[in-house]
């Protein structure tokens, strides 16, 4: 019904003859015009490449100026140097302009944080998955110009030279990961301020803040002045970037023969003369404004999870309505501009890591997650026409980035939810679905004001934050099942035989389950303490050496405080630890409790032998465990109570601990992205019957195959966790496509989502695929290049996944009820 309406809508606004497409085409790809088709094709078919331009500009700048200026000033001048000297790319069909590299899909390197070796570059150029092409000549240049300077100076080397040995041992064993060892702390989103203020307005605010400095009483006043002057210079840098795009456009227009394109180029130039220096006045300027700011953030540093416009539909809606009313814009043109923006994000693959294991989280996805729908700061329904246009764009473009999520509050109309499910039904793996009613509570609990909480949402995968006002740094994943494994071997990593934890007793001497749990709890506390201790240090290293002077301009209250984004500047300062494997840890503890301590079907010694042997020769035992143990996700209190206990203990051990910043605290979230795969890889077999090397459970989802009572049992199990205490949980569900064929079944899935949310769920996402397709795709990757799947919190191309990740998706429980 809605689709039909949308098509009619599109038809009614169609103006030019060339835009008229046949009805068949409309049904397949409603509205994607020739320009968007070409831009999309270019974006999808262009391979990712490495651009050494940024590194060269930066290295030459540092060579010349090292030691001459304060750190914030160095960073801002460096940013200015890049904006001033980088190549300006304007593609021939583009309406929204600007690339981080020299062309689409070209990724800068950040040697000041982590410097790729020649070997790294060669591997990146040739490896099977997530390849980044780079030519011999560039590798030579890098070797000659970049590597010698940064060797010994990069942030990564600085960090690793100082971390304690016990941390390194635990890190190498895979007890946790560390986000900030290769990329700057990221995970941030923007609120609506850049649609009201231009860079010149920010400069004025900065000037005011400098004028208010109290040099007589504030011991930090001089530092603050340096920081503020650097922030002001960063505004100039972004303005310069805009001007250079205007200049380039004007130049291209002079040489353009096609009168239509000439006019477009002049229009682009006009927009770039306006933004980012001034606040945008119309729809096109608003999108271009955001895009310049986005480029600024991801050029300055390589923050984890890129950057994110937050509630983009809500920000764009006033411009859309006004332009439409004034007759300056049609719905079709608005959609075209949004499509251009979407493709821009897809043109920015994530910066590749060094060391090139790629196992931890190997993907091109840089986690820009557009929030659609949700609530406005006054609590009313945030869905508007732009929300629906975005859903259409997502459905038509079908590209990896940006990720998208729909936010379904109790005030959100069902017609929006159902429109989103129709996109989900396509099987792209997105949008994912969030519950503002719960995440607003999460933010209130962690100290945000009501308005700030409502203007917040989710970035990256599932983590919440107050958009535009919070630094919420993700520090890395915690491998909770591995901590139990180490407990079972009294502090030793059974995979390597190396001691990685503390001695908590030989479990063969434990006579009760409670004794075992106590030992696990001790081990957990030790590992979390170890992680936090080093996090504090790394945090300080960023505050000291890598102030993000541009990001600070657009994050409240850095200007007012005169402090950097990494140095207590934001209104809220949160540090997250992401706990993974709730399903696997619950099932393992449940198996130990039932089989060893309650029913006594086996001894601890027997079980330890079995898992040490990877159940080889113990298949009957393994089957008995799998089929006769209460597992998480079945609405069975015997298992769910264990999950709740572990969840609450993680919360108690992490939440509220000071993070070294004024008022800043640690919080827990329950996310794994693809890390459950790496974590499974570094583990032996587990007491729940999981074999060595197999993935552990993702997010807060049940372990694969453990949930056998259908989706309502799963949501009830998950509903038992007090999710408001977290900074986000994650639930993956996989449905077969033919089970969502009718409109009624869409409404029914909608009611499943509503039910989960009324039980307190934070997030849910669906994989709508069938095994035959996946198996076929594994066999013939070339024929399925655009096949996308959802893997724990983001989307990726199936063929870019590791083999075991592919297998995992095939294995994941199918919900037969559909």
């Amino acid at each position: 019904m809605l689709e039909k309406k949308l098509i009619q809508n599109i038809r009614s606004v169609k103006k030019t003859e060339q835009d008229i497409v046949t009805q068949d085409e409309i049904q397949v790809k409603p509205g994607m015009n020739e320009r968007i088709r070409r831009l999309r094709e270019e974006s999808v078919s262009t391979p990712a490449t490495l651009s050494i331009e940024r590194a060269l500009i930066e290295t030459s700048f540092y060579r010349k100026n090292e030691g001459k200026y304060s750190t914030p000033m160095m960073r801002a001048m460096n940013f200015m140097e890049i904006c001033e000297k980088k190549y300006i790319y304007i593609g021939k069909d583009e309406l929204i302009v600007g690339e981080r590299g020299e062309k689409p899909k070209s990724v800068s390197t950040f040697p000041e944080l982590t410097c790729h070796s020649v070997e790294d570059l060669k591997v990146l150029n040739t490896r099977e998955q997530q390849r980044y092409l780079i030519c011999e000549e560039d590798i030579e240049t890098y070797k000659r110009e970049v590597i010698p300077y940064w060797t010994g100076r990069s942030q990564r080397e600085r960090i690793f030279s100082r971390v304690p040995e016990e941390w390194k041992v635990a890190y190498e064993a895979g007890l946790f990961t560390e986000f900030m060892e290769q990329r700057a702390p990221g995970h941030t989103c923007l609120d609506g301020k850049i649609y009201r203020k231009g860079m010149l307005d920010f400069k004025k605010e900065i000037e005011d803040s400098i004028n208010k400095l109290d040099y007589f009483n504030d011991p930090k006043a001089t530092d603050k002045e340096e920081q503020l002057r650097a922030m002001s210079l960063s505004c100039d840098a972004l303005i310069r970037l805009g001007e250079r795009h205007a200049e380039k456009s004007e130049e291209l227009a002079r040489h353009e023969d096609n009168p239509q394109r000439k006019e477009e180029l002049l229009q682009i130039a006009k927009v770039c003369r306006r933004v980012p220096a001034h606040a945008p006045r119309n729809f096109m300027e608003a999108i271009q404004m955001y895009w310049f700011v986005h480029l600024g953030v991801i050029t300055e540093l390589n923050g984890w999870d890129a950057f994110n416009p937050g509630h983009f539909d809500q920000h764009l809606s006033p411009f859309y309505e006004e332009d439409l009313k004034a007759g300056r814009l049609t719905r079709e043109e608005a959609k075209e501009l949004i499509s251009c923006f979407w493709i821009k994000v897809n043109n920015q693959p994530a910066p590749p890591k060094v060391g090139v294991t790629a196992s931890e989280s190997g993907t091109y996805n840089d986690f820009t997650n557009i929030n659609i729908g949700g609530v406005k700061p006054d609590g009313s329904d945030g869905v508007n026409e732009v929300s629906y246009i975005m859903l259409e764009v997502i459905e038509e473009l079908h590209i990896l980035q940006p990720g998208s999520s729909v936010h379904i509050s109790s005030v959100t109309p069902n017609r929006f939810l159902h429109s989103a499910i129709k996109v989900i039904r396509r099987g792209y793996g997105y949008p994912s679905i969030f519950n503002p009613d719960i995440y607003i509570q999460e933010m209130l609990r962690s100290g945000k004001s009501l308005e700030d909480a409502r203007e917040g949402g989710c970035s990256g995968c599932i983590e919440v934050g107050a958009f535009g006002k919070e630094a919420y740094l993700l520090t890395g994943y915690l491998n909770v099942p591995k901590i139990l494994e180490v407990t079972l071997f009294n502090g030793v990593n059974p995979v390597t035989g190396k001691k990685v934890g503390i001695e908590t007793g030989d479990p063969r001497n434990f006579s009760t389950y409670e004794e075992l749990y106590e030992a696990f709890h001790k081990q957990l506390r030790y590992v979390i303490d170890l992680k936090i201790r080093v996090n504090q240090y790394i945090d300080k290293m960023y505050a000291r050496y890598f102030p993000a002077t541009f990001l600070s301009v657009i994050t409240d209250d850095c200007i007012k405080k005169g402090l950097d984004y990494y140095n207590e500047g934001p209104r809220y300062n949160t540090t997250y630890i992401q706990c993974t494997g709730l399903g696997t840890i619950t099932d393992s503890l449940s198996a130990l409790k039932k089989q060893v301590f309650s029913d006594k079907t086996i001894t601890m010694d027997h079980l330890l032998k079995a898992i040490s042997a990877n159940f080889d020769g113990y298949e009957v035992l393994r089957q008995r465990i799998i089929n006769n143990t209460p597992f998480f996700g079945n609405d069975d209190a015997k298992a769910d109570d264990i999950a709740v206990k572990v969840y609450n203990d993680l919360f108690d051990l992490i939440d509220g601990r000071p993070n070294g910043k004024e008022g800043g605290k640690y919080h827990m979230n329950m996310l794994s992205t693809t890390c459950h795969n790496y974590f499974g890889n570094v583990m032996g077999a587990t007491p729940d019957g999981r074999l060595a090397g197999k993935a552990i459970s993702d997010g807060t989802s049940p372990a694969h195959g453990a949930d056998t009572h259908g989706p309502t049992a799963v949501i009830r199990s998950l509903g038992k966790l007090d999710q408001v205490k977290s900074g986000g949980t994650l639930l993956n569900m996989r449905f077969l496509p033919d089970l969502l064929r009718s409109d009624e079944s869409i409404a029914k899935l909608g009611s499943l989502i509503r039910s989960y949310f009324s039980l307190g769920g934070h997030h849910i996402q669906f994989n709508i695929v069938d095994n035959a397709t996946l198996l076929a795709a594994r066999k013939n990757p070339e024929e399925y290049r655009d096949l996308m799947v959802r893997v724990a919190g983001y989307s990726d191309y199936f063929n870019d996944l590791h083999d075991n990740l592919k297998q995992e998706i095939i294995d994941r429980t199918e919900n037969e009820a559909f």
Partner: protein, 301 residues
């Protein structure tokens, strides 16, 4: 106590909204196409899933009747003349390759399960569906459950073949919100041939429900070779049009042989001769015919 062979949560094809479907065991009909062959017998039955069996022999070791044989290819063969259905083998089977179908549930146990679904039931306008087998073959248990559901404000549907004494139907009728009523064949002889019983009682009971003004939906399997011919469709339409109150919907259920695996698990042969899946064209044609007569039609539910 209700004797059930299955309970299915998140059921989306058994009445309005999302439902929990409760399957009673035992049925007076034995339709050749039955996709729940384990629902026919009123007794417990043993199911054996060859593909789950790892041939460990645990079951053979505990069988007191020596009814089980482990073949050299790792398959378990049950001598049903010896098997007393004690269920010991199902308890020791590590992979659940052997399972008992059918067990008693207490009313409390069942109501607890139903009440767990209240969120989805309320959000979707769903409820509970009593199916089978033939739920009306368990009139006392069914009535109690219907009353309990009514008290709890849970919408109830009874999925029935209609082949029961009219007095039983009349007794549960006031406590039921909706009937899902199976209509298979209009010709009584042919009905007997394919389902084992004549259809006079079934048609009479359908009239009864209609006369009382009760909400009901017709469910009609479409099986090429059995009931898709023009004559049967015409007669069905004539019958339905002649009823005092029409069904609120007609569900057309195209035949499938999804039950093949279940027959295998029961150690029985599936006689598919003479039955075929109707073509999509045929299904649409029949759908159109019903719609032309003013019926609301769903395919597959």
């Amino acid at each position: 106590m209700p004797f059930l062979f299955d309970i299915k949560r998140y059921s989306i094809n058994d009445g309005p909204g999302v439902r929990i479907t409760v399957f009673f065991k035992g049925c007076p009909l034995s339709c050749r196409w039955c996709h729940n062959p384990e629902s026919i017998s009123f007794k417990s039955e043993k199911l054996y899933n060859r593909s789950k069996c790892i041939g460990c022999g645990s079951c053979v070791a505990v069988c007191s009747e020596n009814a089980l044989i482990l073949t050299t290819s790792g398959e378990i063969i049950t001598d049903f003349s010896r098997c007393i259905l004690c269920g010991k083998c199902t308890e020791v089977c590590p992979t659940k390759a052997v399972e008992m179908s059918g067990r008693d549930y207490t009313e409390n146990e069942l109501m607890d399960l139903i009440m767990r679904e209240t969120h989805i039931i309320d959000n979707s306008g769903g409820g509970v569906t009593f199916s089978g087998g033939e739920p009306l073959m368990h009139p006392k248990e069914l009535k109690n459950l219907l009353i309990l559901c009514g008290k709890a404000g849970i919408h109830s549907a009874v999925d029935t073949s209609g082949h029961v004494k009219s007095s039983i139907l009349e007794d549960i009728l006031p406590h039921t919100d909706l009937f899902l009523y199976d209509l298979k064949l209009m010709n009584s002889e042919r009905h007997r041939k394919w389902t084992g019983v004549n259809n006079e009682l079934i048609l009479m009971n359908l009239r009864l429900i209609s006369d009382k003004g009760k909400d009901y939906q017709i469910r009609m399997p479409l099986i090429e070779g059995v009931n898709c011919n023009e004559e049967n469709i015409r007669e069905t339409l004539t019958f339905l049009c002649g009823l005092k109150n029409r069904p609120s919907a007609v569900g057309l259920l195209p035949y499938h042989n999804i039950a093949l695996k279940k027959f295998e698990k029961l150690g029985r042969n599936y006689h598919e001769e003479g039955m075929k899946k109707p073509s999509d064209n045929k299904v649409n044609l029949i759908k159109n015919l019903f719609e032309q007569h003013g019926f609301k039609v769903n395919i597959g539910g």
